[in-house]
């Protein structure tokens, strides 16, 4: 695959951004990159935040350095054209580029006009444009939406239209910069399927450069993967070669596919080569191991009721949960929680809400949150997660039903006052950053709530220290990287000392290291008695950290209970547009060989080894820091 002809040749390419602050030093984003990309291959690019992935994308279509300024050494050639010499609009006929944010990929026309826009700019004859538009929309499965305004589409649809819009320019190279990072599981799947279909159709005529943090997606689509770190290529090889080096990836702070982690650990423990990247690929060999003579299949009655640290209910309780789930009932109702829990912090009772009085967003939601709970709120886009969360601090008020926050009815107290109890960290950190320094930013919340003098200073210092921002306290928050901006936003909310912390998709775009750090902080807060409500699409996160999972679908809570009961219930998740994590799918797939459902890499390995070899411990299964799944 990698032996020519090369469509992209990068030779010792070094790029420095102009300094972010006047008088500052230029920032080296790419450092001596040499890379060849063969026509027709799909190259995956991954690495931590700030490793240079996005800059590499911009260098491929000449926006680096034409639009960004800065200094360049070395060369990027696309189909023989040097990006230094050929202007961006001309390079656009060879390299199509799709950015991460669906909002910024679209110019603002109808789907059809959006796709026609590129060819129009290139002066393509009308009949040819019409043919290209039809083809490109067909290729991404958006033909039926051609007359709709692009602004009304879902995130996944927007990204597919953006891909069609660059395809219509007939590029030889498609560069996708984290195209699914801001999408829910449904949107992710749509885009992944569209990319796979395109590659089948275009073959050697289309080269794909796919930048992703999502290792599962890369494992599925990429032929080859390079890993960037601090602007250099530190690993390069076939997708399998790269992703089976799980320890190396962990050291680099890069995600590996869950199944690759499982099989790497099992291979080490059993002294065999079980390496695989997907559940489908891993299942046969693992099943054979479980059924090996000498390890007869155990009956369900004798199955260990505990998998790893997480108590897993026996089959009877799962069945009980199933029975109730089938009737559309939550696994545990609010009152059941009340019985066991102390005085609730938040009580949501029969809440209905319609946006603009018309579109129903919540249709009768009940939810109780107790002090010190760590709750994951799951659901696809539009299921009502954010709408529900905004009811918890009074940003939205119920049309019917009521919300009590620490005993106060949100209809009678403004959000500014409820902020004493509920801290809300928004999805986009830029939406809540406005002060000239990090310290001032962190101080503004407590000051709004009346903190002054020594009390204020103490709160700020403590928040800065907790989120590793002490050294950055005098920097301008807007000039920090995305992960640091997120920490600032979080610290600013934390400094108000809320009893309930609501986080809306806090890990989007964060790499493994930053995600692990964030989750460790949240765990610590929960241990201190803070309630955390984590809104996420990431079932891996929910499985590893949450003690309770709430799933929403179509404005209703459709499941509420311990992770073990919900996250391994493929049917119930599917009904809410979700899918179990890969490791869980693998465990479910092996149920016929006696495997119990497992939610995490650790619990899978432990359960597997216990069954397969009578109790060998899973190596490298530490419960802290890097070894643990973020």
């Amino acid at each position: 695959m990698a032996d020519g002809p090369y469509i992209i040749e990068i030779r010792d390419f070094t790029y420095r951004y102009p300094p972010a602050e006047p008088g500052g030093a230029p920032v080296t984003a790419l450092d001596g990159i040499t890379l060849d990309i063969a026509a027709g291959e799909c190259l995956g690019v991954t690495g931590t935040a700030g490793s240079g992935k996005s800059t590499l994308c911009l260098a491929l279509n000449g926006l680096v350095p034409h639009a960004t300024g800065g200094t360049v050494r070395g060369e990027v050639r696309v189909g023989g054209w040097s990006t230094k010499e050929v202007p961006v609009p001309r390079l656009a006929t060879r390299v199509g580029m799709v950015f991460q944010d669906p909002e910024s990929n679209l110019v603002g026309l109808t789907v059809e006009d959006e796709v026609a826009f590129g060819p129009e700019n290139l002066g393509v004859p009308r009949e040819e444009i019409a043919a290209r538009v039809a083809w490109a929309l067909e290729a991404v499965g958006m033909a039926s939406a051609r007359r709709r305004p692009a602004a009304q589409l879902s995130g996944g649809q927007k990204q597919r239209v953006a891909i069609a819009a660059v395809l219509a320019m007939r590029p030889q190279v498609l560069v996708l910069d984290e195209p699914t990072a801001q999408l829910d599981p449904t949107g992710k799947e749509e885009v992944a399927a569209a990319i796979a279909a395109l590659r089948r159709e275009r073959g050697a005529d289309l080269t794909v450069v796919l930048v992703e943090q999502d290792a599962e997606l890369l494992a599925r689509l990429a032929d080859r993967v390079v890993v960037l770190d601090a602007g250099r290529i530190v690993l390069s090889g076939t997708t399998r070669e790269i992703f089976t080096r799980v320890d190396h990836l962990a050291a680099l702070g890069v995600f590996a596919p869950q199944v690759a982690e499982v099989t790497a650990r099992l291979s080490a423990a059993l002294g065999a080569d079980l390496a695989a990247l997907t559940p489908e690929e891993a299942a046969p060999a693992l099943r054979a191991r479980l059924r090996k003579p000498g390890h007869p299949e155990r009956s369900q009655e004798r199955a260990e009721p505990f998998v790893g640290d997480n108590p897993v209910p026996g089959d009877e309780s799962l069945n009980a949960a199933d029975r109730r789930g089938a009737a559309g009932e939550p696994v545990l109702t609010a009152s059941e929680h009340d019985a066991a829990a102390p005085e609730p912090l938040v009580v949501v009772e029969g809440v209905h809400y319609r946006y603009g009085g018309s579109v129903p967003a919540l249709r009768g939601v009940d939810l109780t949150l107790a002090p010190g709970e760590f709750v994951a709120l799951l659901g696809v886009n539009g299921s009502g997660k954010t709408t529900l969360a905004k009811h918890l601090n009074g940003l939205l008020r119920p049309d019917a039903g009521r919300v009590l926050v620490a005993g106060r009815d949100t209809r009678q107290h403004p959000p500014g006052e409820l902020a004493r109890v509920v801290g809300y960290v928004f999805q986009n950190p830029d939406h809540q950053i406005f002060q000239p320094t990090v310290a001032a930013e962190v101080a503004s919340g407590p000051r709004n709530l009346g903190a002054r003098g020594a009390d204020l200073a103490e709160r700020v210092d403590e928040a800065l220290a907790r989120f590793g921002l002490t050294d950055l306290r005098d920097r301008h928050p807007m000039l920090l990287g995305r992960a640091a901006r997120r920490r600032v936003a979080l610290a600013a909310v934390y400094a108000t000392r809320p009893r309930l912390l609501v986080l809306d998709e806090p890990t989007g775009g964060l790499d493994r290291r930053d995600t692990a750090e964030l989750m460790a902080t949240l765990e610590a807060l929960v241990a201190e008695g803070t309630t955390v409500l984590l809104i996420t699409h990431d079932l891996r996160l929910a499985a590893t950290h949450a003690r309770r999972v709430v799933v929403m679908w179509d404005g209703r809570v459709v499941a509420d209970g311990p992770p073990e009961a919900i996250l391994a219930d493929a049917e119930r998740l599917a009904a809410a547009g979700l899918r179990p994590a890969p490791v869980t799918r693998l465990s479910l797939d092996l149920a016929d060989a006696g495997m119990l459902p497992a939610l995490t890499v650790e619990s899978f390995c432990e359960a597997f080894l216990r069954r397969a070899s009578g109790g060998a411990a899973c190596p490298a299964g530490g419960r802290t820091g890097e070894g643990r799944e973020p």
Partner: protein, 269 residues
């Protein structure tokens, strides 16, 4: 965030939707000229009636029109009430108490002034509810507006709801941190500053990316641009253009020379 608050357009494929954007622009110009020249009660009522008929035939829902009326109502009422206070001439005198003198003619004058505002508004409603923003921009471009400016206009229109959404989110985020958006005007204005700053920064980040997107789609390539859909005048468009331009021209000429519609109560008085 819905775009509905900023975009009057009602998607559809009626005869009015299909009329070329330039013809509708000609209608708007002609109608505005006439409504500004006229001051006649009867003509305003007729104009409003015709516009409503046209809107109904184009499938614009009555609820939408009712909403426009509701929005206009306070202004219209104010005009009707205040007009007689400043126009004290004419007969019959309905009420005279000290300096206050209300005449029947002034009262009708107030009603006419309000109806003129309503008619002017509905001319725009007719235009904007049956012509989507891209058609409007395309029309302007075909009439000589440089394409780059037209594109800028398209993007600006498309981003109004986005910006409004960003503003709302930022406002929510600030309130979630204890910012209280109540109190006196000055206090509220001060509280708005952080919201504006954060909204502006977000918007700037988005604009930078959007600029890259435009460039990566060969916007500004040094070749003559082509178009997938161009505005094309059908025979019926030409016919309508002649009718609209001719009709407006004749009526305007009659108004200016023969005084058509210049009197408040013509043809009664």
């Amino acid at each position: 965030m819905s775009a509905a608050g900023f975009d009057l357009y009602v998607p559809g494929d009626s005869w009015l939707h299909r009329v070329d954007a330039r013809v509708k622009l000609a209608f708007v110009v002609g109608a505005l000229a006439l409504l500004l020249v006229w001051s006649n009660l009867a003509l305003f009522v007729v104009a409003l009636g015709l516009i409503h008929l046209a809107l109904a035939s184009a499938g614009v829902p009555g609820a939408r029109l009712a909403r426009v009326w509701r929005t206009l109502a306070p202004f219209l009422l104010l005009i009707v009430l205040l007009w007689p206070l400043f126009n004290r001439g004419g007969t019959p005198v309905l009420l005279e108490a000290g300096p206050l003198r209300i005449t029947g003619r002034a009262l009708l004058g107030g009603v006419a002034a309000a109806l003129r505002i309503a008619a002017l508004s509905f001319v725009f409603v007719l235009w904007l509810s049956t012509t989507d923003q891209r058609q409007i921009v395309r029309g302007f471009v075909r009439l000589g507006l440089p394409f780059g400016l037209g594109m800028a206009l398209t993007i600006a229109l498309r981003f109004i709801p986005t910006f409004a959404g960003v503003f709302q989110t930022v406002s929510d985020a600030q309130q979630a941190r204890g910012l209280v958006l109540t109190g006196g005007a000055l206090r509220r204005a001060r509280a708005m500053i952080p919201i504006l700053i954060a909204a502006l920064v977000t918007v700037l980040r988005l604009s930078e990316q959007l600029g890259w997107t435009l460039e990566a789609r060969a916007f500004g390539a040094p070749v003559p641009r082509t178009t997938l859909h161009d505005l094309a005048m059908r025979p019926v468009d030409w016919l309508l253009l002649v009718l609209v331009a001719g009709g407006a021209g004749v009526l305007l000429w009659l108004s200016l020379t023969a005084g058509l519609g210049r009197g408040l109560l013509w043809p009664v008085v």
